[in-house]
């Protein structure tokens, strides 16, 4: 019921705004996808339909309102037991009688993903509301981004919005200062960010400082009041830097974040990447990622490590990883590629062949397969399930 009220409110607002404003745009996409995965010699499928409706209105020359509403439905295998993907040595540590807590459901959902007002002043922009926050230069991993975690198999998928007040101050044409406040229940628990961006020669760079509450969970303990895993929040202070430019004709980027933790051990993340396009249009990219929160030996992985990875609380389970990607435009409308993710720390590997086809001007088809080649218990073990995804998207 609640979702339909939301839909009606959103549509009512959209239609009202449409009639009231000349410069209102209504657009978005519909996406249908099927994902399949092999688990313990059975093959399971999850179907997803997603409708995204975007609204953008230029209220005046300097004021913009933008919002988008997402509605997703799931069917097929909508309940996934995380324990199915883990080894016996890990599942045996699950407290007796609590196995049902480790089932992740995919429930139909509708929500306002973004809704913000942007006011452009002469030398700065003010953005207020739920908005995307994109930080860092890394393609797959972003050590500076404490707000989002990308899926290494699908790193360019859009990220959700976050409530925030944001100032982007243009210091000169080459320099920008960003200050952002993302409110929570108290000032202390709210995220604060300040970032300086500039350019030296052909290199962009940025320096950043962030304070944010990290809502970790202990996935072996339970909060019986809320019937959930025990939350163990702690303050995280990040100091980071990033750069992107060109070295010896190759694209080059690097990103670093040092995380000072309130209770647990400090850690850092580092990304170094390079890319190149050959004259014959083939594109290659390599990105190295280190996260000292990750383990160096897969035998050290525990239930919390795995659950925090699956719950998108941390970006990696193993310390060192390398991502490779090669893509070639076979025709003007068809790109074939393959990406590989190698966990150096536990010597496991995932290979992901990809296909992107522009079926018509406003319709894309994307497909990938996912093959894992690691030993049991490693980051990309065969137990993680080989599978694939087929996605068709129509823009309107």
């Amino acid at each position: 019921m609640k979702k339909w009220i939301l839909v009606l409110v959103f549509l009512s607002f959209g239609i009202t705004a449409l009639s009231a404003q000349e410069r209102v745009e209504l657009f978005g996409y519909f996406e249908s996808q099927i994902m399949g995965t092999e688990i313990k010699s059975d093959f399971y499928q999850l179907y997803t339909n997603k409708l995204r409706v975007d609204l953008k209105s230029s209220i005046s020359e300097n004021i913009t309102f933008a919002a988008n509403f997402d509605y997703s439905t799931y069917y097929g295998k909508t309940k996934w037991n995380i324990l199915d993907f883990l080894t016996l040595s890990i599942t045996s540590t699950v407290p007796q009688g609590k196995e049902s807590f480790y089932i992740f459901p995919f429930s139909n959902r509708s929500f306002l993903d973004n809704a913000y007002i942007k006011r452009a002043f002469k030398n700065f922009d003010l953005t207020v509301g739920k908005q995307q926050i994109s930080l860092g230069t890394g393609y797959v991993w972003n050590p500076m981004d404490v707000f989002n975690i990308k899926d290494p198999v699908d790193p360019t998928y859009e990220q959700p919005g976050h409530n925030a007040v944001r100032f982007d101050v243009l210091l000169q044409s080459k320099y920008t200062l960003t200050a952002l406040y993302s409110p929570e229940d108290t000032w202390r628990n709210s995220a604060k960010l300040i970032q300086f961006k500039g350019r030296i020669s052909h290199f962009d760079y940025s320096l950043i400082a962030i304070e944010k509450l990290w809502r970790f969970h202990d996935y072996a303990q339970f909060d019986t009041t809320n019937m959930s895993f025990l939350e163990m929040p702690e303050q995280r202070q990040l100091l980071g830097a990033s750069t992107a430019g060109e070295l010896l004709g190759l694209g080059a980027w690097a990103e670093y974040g040092y995380n000072k933790m309130e209770y647990s051990k400090d850690f850092y993340e580092l990304v170094v990447g390079t890319d190149y396009t050959f004259d014959f249009q083939t594109y290659i990219m390599v990105e190295y990622y280190r996260n000292t929160l990750g383990r160096t030996d897969y035998e050290q992985y525990n239930l919390n490590d795995w659950m925090r990875l699956f719950a998108n609380e941390q970006k990696a389970i193993s310390r060192d990883q390398i991502y490779g990607f090669i893509q070639h435009p076979v025709t003007d409308f068809l790109n074939l590629g393959i990406s590989s993710i190698h966990s150096i720390s536990d010597n496991s590997l995932a290979l992901v062949p990809t296909l992107n086809y522009s079926l018509s001007e406003n319709m894309d088809v994307m497909a990938y397969l996912n093959f894992n080649f690691g030993k049991e218990g490693t980051a990309y073990s065969k137990l993680s399930g080989n599978g694939g995804l087929l996605r068709a998207r129509v823009y309107f």
Partner: protein
């Protein structure tokens, strides 16, 4: 290669009367370069890609250019799939940034990205935004005059300079004698100067703001047997453009 193509502009000024016999290749290419690069420009254009199978894709975009093509901004309006995507090129396309509105990310591209096709078209980033590359990256040589596309033309060979990193080893231009519009340009492979890659043909030349402008530009890809046509829907020259227009802030608008 020519920022003007971004705005799809083929430009010409009335040149001082000179006898063709007196002109060197350098004289001619300086004149062409001057005409290609007005101080500022704005255009709205429609780009149509035609594949070997006859399939078509059409893109509508707006573009702005400043400092004689040194700064360029392109923003896509249609189709919906790419709406809002934008490309900023500074320093004659030595610095390129692309913006993706769905992820709200700005990505800095290295110069090798100039080799990439723009939206799968037969134009590369380099073709679209290299400002005065005709004179900075190539050495001109005048060849025997020829008739081309119905015009009496100067024929020029431009050979890439040793320190240039452009993707073409040489270009052949047919420049209309009375207007200095290069009606045809042939592009040759980076490593093999005998390998003909692409041909650009400009037509439907009209006087816009007193500047003769080719309203239709077609790039034929000889290797892939495909073609891309750019049709100018609107053109303005010497429009007031602030430097703020060519920043990351503007890219995200």
């Amino acid at each position: 290669m020519k920022n003007i193509m971004i705005s799809g502009l083929m430009v010409l000024l009335l040149a001082p009367a000179l006898f063709s016999q007196e002109l060197t290749g350098e004289d001619i290419i300086l004149k062409v370069n001057e005409l290609f690069n007005p101080q500022t420009s704005y255009s709205k254009s429609e780009m149509t890609i035609v594949t070997t199978s006859g399939s078509k894709r059409t893109f509508l975009s707006e573009s702005w250019s400043k400092n004689e093509g040194e700064k360029n901004l392109v923003r896509y309006l249609e189709p919906r799939r790419v709406k809002g995507q934008a490309i900023l090129m500074l320093n004659n396309a030595d610095d390129i940034w692309s913006y993706f509105p769905r992820t709200q990310r700005v990505r800095k591209l290295a110069t090798h990205a100039k080799n990439q096709k723009m939206q799968g078209s037969d134009f590369s980033y380099e073709d679209m935004g290299s400002g005065d590359a005709f004179i900075t990256d190539f050495s001109p040589k005048r060849l025997k005059d020829e008739k081309m596309e119905g015009h009496d033309c100067y024929k020029l060979e431009l050979t890439r300079k040793q320190d240039s990193d452009l993707s073409y080893s040489r270009l052949i231009l047919w420049v209309v004698k009375e207007s200095y519009v290069p009606v045809v340009i042939d592009y040759y492979d980076e490593d093999d100067p005998t390998l003909w890659l692409k041909r650009l043909v400009q037509s439907d030349i009209r006087l816009i703001d007193n500047i003769p402008t080719a309203m239709r530009v077609v790039m034929y890809n000889k290797n892939d047997n495909t073609q891309t046509e750019i049709e100018l829907l609107e053109v303005k020259y010497n429009v007031p453009l602030n430097d703020d227009m060519f920043t990351e802030r503007s890219l995200k608008k």
